[in-house]
Symmetry: C2
Subunit: 344 residues, 2 copies
């Protein structure tokens, strides 16, 4: 059925080795021969079978991305960067979406066994050392984005610093009661981020001479619903916060929704700042700490290619910084009212 290298060889009147040689731009082919082969290829509209090829060269020219909830804005924007890079490099992009811990483990343990992809980008998920070692043994390079492992090249945001600056900006605006909505830690998604951001919050509070009130810190799901629920909890305090820092834009959106629902003026009665800088935040004019999401994706691929080219390259830890984006949801505290007042 399909035309093979034998057909091309026959039509061109050469051996299959020669055809293969012109296909792989090997040097030693007489140019007259090359012409013959090329025109046979054109005549037959031949394309080499990538599978048979992979069989020998042990490369697929495909890279895999393991990503939790790929459709979340955060993931989408990183993925976009990844796609930009893979397209430019002529690599195929295989998406392994994970929704459960089982799926994550399945991919972690199964993928390295067999070379369906040449390398892996892992987003927001941290393989433990044992898994990382399996990758190394299997010769499957992996790069982490938005997580960290000492054994793998990792691209991380400086979360401590980001959270620090977010809270500091709020303190500088006169806020003393600052709520912090953090993401859940269990479930194993988004591990360190939550921790690091908490550290940054503590530090900023300390520097501003504000004593940390545990009531003002609530942990919620990384979703709008989580943000909403946490906001209710925060606003029901005897002494509610005048500003809220959410560990992700998605959660900040939930804060915004709740404020709107309660007719609480933003930013007059409540300042809100998020974290991530997803496209959506721009639309809603949400102040946020922006991460270079697209860049992280592209850089992830670049680093992966370096590991592919040099198998014994040692892992790097690359830190990227956030930038403060002050939009319309943060304002100076009106000294008149020290706490949020609900306008009806």
């Amino acid at each position: 059925m399909a035309v093979t290298i034998y057909d091309v060889a026959r039509v061109a009147g050469v051996g299959i080795g020669t055809v293969s040689r012109v296909l792989n731009q090997s040097q030693s082919v007489k140019s007259s021969t090359r012409e013959k082969v090329l025109s046979a290829i054109a005549a037959l509209n031949y394309t080499p079978d990538p599978i048979a090829r992979s069989m020998i060269i042990k490369r697929t020219d495909a890279i895999g991305v393991i990503v939790p909830f790929f459709y979340r804005p955060f993931s989408v924007e990183v993925l976009r960067g990844v796609a930009t890079a893979t397209t430019r490099l002529g690599q195929e992009l295989v998406v392994f979406n994970v929704e459960t811990n089982e799926q994550r483990d399945h991919y972690f343990t199964r993928l390295p066994m067999r070379r369906r992809v040449d390398g892996l980008i892992i987003i927001s998920l941290a393989p433990d050392d044992e898994i990382a070692i399996t990758f190394a043994e299997a010769g499957l390079p992996a790069v982490l984005v938005d997580t960290y492992s000492p054994l793998l090249t990792s691209l991380v945001i400086n979360n401590v610093e980001g959270a620090y600056r977010a809270v500091k900006s709020l303190a500088e605006k006169g806020h003393r009661r600052i709520g912090f909505i953090n993401g859940v830690i269990e479930g194993n998604f988004k591990f360190n981020q939550a921790n690091d951001r908490l550290i940054g919050v503590h530090r900023a509070l300390a520097d501003a001479g504000i004593v940390f009130d545990p009531e003002l810190m609530v942990t919620a799901e990384w979703s709008r619903a989580g943000g909403r629920q946490a906001t209710h909890q925060l606003l029901n305090l005897k002494e509610p916060p005048t500003a809220i820092f959410a560990a992700s834009d998605i959660q900040a959106l939930g804060v915004l929704e709740t404020a709107r629902q309660l007719n609480l003026a933003v930013p007059e009665a409540l300042s809100i700042i998020g974290f991530d800088g997803i496209e959506l935040s721009e639309l809603l004019e949400l102040s946020t700490m922006q991460q270079p999401l697209h860049l992280m994706g592209e850089l992830g691929v670049t680093k992966l290619m370096e590991h592919l080219a040099d198998t014994k390259k040692s892992p790097e830890l690359i830190r990227l910084d956030t930038s403060l984006l002050e939009r319309r949801t943060t304002a100076t505290l009106k000294s008149a009212s020290k706490s949020a007042s609900i306008k009806i």
Copy 2:
């Protein structure tokens, strides 16, 4: 290096054919033999090489998606449905993102040549008949989502009806000056949709006894910027519209932004209705005609699997309906002011 079927056979003390048979749950293997093989597999932690396997069985257990601008909310939501289905079926998902006509043509012509994927889902892009025939000849089944070809199973939204109902809902609220922002047609992305929606608009206008004013129809890019630009044009008319129907939510967002920028109250001074029902629309409380995006993705995969199972299955045309989602951007026209007034 890697453990092969020969290693397993040796350890189990059987022939490679036997190992292969237990791997492929073939019936005729004595259960005692099966046990031996299974424990050898476990002992060696063996996984068959999917590439070598594909070489013979001519299947990859991967399906490809060709999608323009995969990161657009519309695409993401369809993709999510696709991922749900592929994960459930244990298929891998390869994403071919297209940003230019060249890329589209590249994938259209190159992909069918060689079986890197077993089948194709094509979103919002219409391959012409010649291409569709190539697919068929190559034995590569393809299903279209959000486009149509007579030669391929197609999942389309009833765009005429959707646009009709959108405009009708506006007319029923008393609006007579209804602007319509349509998407561009050239560029070959999103072809019929724009056309069909225009037809629906015409029909609804006619039924409501409103004469069509060509000035009220403007064509713009499928983006927020497009929506913004079109809105400015519309509002600068001597007799501006009191309501705008945008052919996509993304464009409707641009309308919303412009209204906000001009301090034009929505929906009091301007009603807005979009099309698509992306998640974002919910957040902004945008009224819209909702498409079953997730379903389209899932159904696309289901149909593709049917074509995979039965090569000679003939193409189907499946029509899906939109549902009207009235949220906070549409309101009854205050008869007092017949046209939008700009509040300063």
